[in-house]
């Protein structure tokens, strides 16, 4: 039996899909934030071998399609290493890595925005590299990075939609299912698009509010 | 002729032009003097329609610049040279000069280019015809700006502090050209700080103060000891200018 019309249960489906998208978005953003920041710190310490390797890896991840990265992890890794990779695992690995690459770029430019003279003068006062990073760079870099970070997150939220292609039942996959069942593409994709739009706007709003607070905070500290 | 009657203009609460009456006849060179903020430049910008009048009227050969239909015709009869040159940065000197003749006057490209090169020759820039503005000095840019205005064969040339952004040497380059134009009988409205030069080329001097036209005299009378010079506001202004 085919249910071609919409049912109240479809709202539950959509909510579930949105939940999966959001959960993966939040998890991979967090992991990406941590990894990307670690990469930037490695660069700050100028660790040999690792620094150029990370720079190359970040360029590669930034300049190739996320879809191909997903395929490489989901289809490629199991074939090469004879391991089992579930769609969700592949999604987490790929999105985290991709986000990390962009976070790394933002973090590096945030650190560079602070200026060598400030860092050097702090070093002259006898602060260790870690103390400089912790007390001088981190607070300022954070305020600088919130703007670009918000833009990145809005973008990464949209990127999560690609994991539907490898079978993760996210919001887009639910859209696919409903589209095939109801054969009402305009309605289905308008609703799905609308949900993404509202979520993106909420992320942007959150970023703007955070930026305002951080800027106020740094301004107050500067006085 | 250019005829301004009761021109009023304010920006917010600041009154910039407070009832200006001014006539400029064909063949005249009228210099507009006044301290900064006296409304000189705004008056020019009202004449070429860049600013809307709050009250009063300005006509160029009876075409009212406040009426959209007339403005096009008024702009064909006048041409403006700007303080900051305002050349099109992506076009060569020749392209800067020929754009409006080709587009507005519907001249052929060949005809317009030949005219442009002749003009550039006449201001000593024949060799720089195909240079871009960024490759020219300030004085050279302003000479191109003058050629661009002249290429439209305007009856009236509106000059808005055209030497203010130039150093003295370049100022001389540009003023020499104006002297030549004045000799040829070009009608000019000349907003300037170059008092000595205004004295040599103007037929009339107009003095603006706080948005009002306080003096409108033939040049001789303006600079006569018992003429406009005698007024305290003007002598004060002139002595300050000469000191600078």
């Amino acid at each position: 039996m085919r249910y071609t019309s919409f049912t109240p249960y479809d709202f539950v489906l959509l909510a579930q899909g949105l939940g999966v998208s959001l959960a993966l978005f939040l998890a991979t953003s967090l992991i990406g934030l941590v990894i990307g920041t670690i990469w930037a710190v490695i660069r700050f310490y100028r660790v040999p071998v690792l620094t150029p390797f990370i720079a190359f890896l970040a360029e590669l991840l930034k300049n190739s399609p996320v879809l191909v990265q997903l395929f490489l992890v989901f289809f490629g890794l199991p074939a090469l290493l004879k391991i089992n990779v579930t769609p969700v695992e592949a999604a987490v690995i790929t999105l985290s890595g991709n986000t990390a690459a962009f976070i790394y770029v933002i973090a590096v430019s945030a650190i560079e925005s602070i200026g060598r003279d400030q860092i050097e003068s702090a070093r002259v006062f006898g602060l260790s590299r870690w103390q400089v990073l912790h007390h001088i760079i981190a607070p300022q870099a954070m305020a600088f990075a919130v703007g670009p970070l918000t833009g990145l997150l809005v973008n990464q939220l949209q990127v999560t939609s690609l994991i539907s292609v490898i079978g993760v039942v996210d919001l887009t996959k639910i859209g696919n299912i409903l589209n095939l069942r109801t054969l009402k593409p305009f309605i289905v994709w308008t609703i799905v698009g609308g949900l993404y739009y509202v979520t993106a706007k909420l992320v942007a709003l959150g970023g703007a509010m955070l930026e305002k607070r951080l800027r106020a905070h740094t301004a107050w500290k500067g006085l | 002729m250019i005829r301004a009657r009761g021109v009023r203009k304010s920006f917010g609460s600041a009154i910039v032009l407070d009832g200006i009456d001014l006539d400029v006849e064909s063949g005249e060179v009228v210099s507009i003097l006044g301290s900064s903020g006296s409304g000189k430049s705004t008056l020019i910008r009202c004449m070429n329609g860049l600013e809307k009048l709050d009250a009063g009227s300005i006509t160029i050969d009876d075409f009212d610049v406040s009426r959209p239909k007339d403005l096009a015709e008024a702009r064909k009869r006048s041409a403006t040279v700007f303080q900051l040159f305002n050349l099109y940065p992506h076009m060569t000197a020749v392209q800067n000069i020929t754009l409006a003749p080709i587009q507005v006057l519907k001249r052929s490209r060949a005809e317009a280019e030949a005219a442009a090169r002749t003009l550039l020759d006449s201001v000593g820039l024949g060799a720089r015809a195909d240079a871009y503005p960024a490759q020219l000095s300030g004085g050279q840019r302003q000479r191109v700006g003058i050629c661009r205005a002249l290429a439209m064969n305007p009856r009236y040339l509106l000059l808005d502090e055209i030497t203010s952004a130039l150093d003295p040497e370049m100022t001389a380059e540009v003023l020499n050209i104006l002297a030549q134009l004045a000799k040829n009988g070009t009608t000019m409205v000349f907003v300037t700080h170059e008092i000595e030069f205004a004295r040599t080329i103007s037929s009339r001097i107009v003095f603006l103060d706080k948005g009002q036209l306080v003096v409108d005299l033939p040049t001789e009378e303006f600079f006569a000891a018992d003429g406009g010079m005698a007024r305290p506001r003007i002598s004060q202004f002139l002595s300050k200018m000469r000191k600078d």
Partner: protein, 223 residues
Amino acid sequence: MPFDVTILAPHVPFLLKGALLTAEACALALVGSLIIGLLVAALRTSSSPLLSRAAFVYVDLFRNIPFIVQLFFFFYGLPEIGIYVDAFTTGVIALSIAGGAFSSDVIRSGILAIDTGIIEAAEVSGLSKPVIFRKIVMPIALRTSIRPLGSVFINLVLTSSILSTITLNELTGSAKIVASDTFRPFEVYAVLLIAYASLTYLVSLAIGVLHRRLNRDRMPEVA
């Protein structure tokens, strides 16, 4: 199964055919996005509040909804309203519309950066508004925005991989076929990743050259 790229040799012509299709789609979409971008940027900077509002809504929507959702909207939706076009055309249309939203933002800031005196000079010389836009505003805005437009185009190339989800066998689509034919997904997608990264690297080099050629001597930094 060790990592072995040579296994792909016989499939190179097939992959190149896919790459050609990618290039065609991107070239057409580039033209499409530039046209839409210019038009929308003109509307957004126009004096009519209604037009500029409408242009803003378009940009806001298409920037905040995942491309794959937009693509499905057109791919499944167009036949619904009686428009039957092939996957290639659908893909180019969707890419152009999304790319147009991003390029219009870039072009708009290029327009807003133009010195008003230059526009005034054009106005007083009697040039009509359309001529001023075509001969002055557009060329200056495009020249100054070559670099950000280049980033939009690189994103377009990467995004075009998503066209593989609507049955189009462009580069990623062809790679999927080769991967399942050879049972060597890791090699295939690794090579594909490098291929995209090299492609976008070449594009960014070309943009740098174009930028210098268009702006050298003509518009150096204003002193």
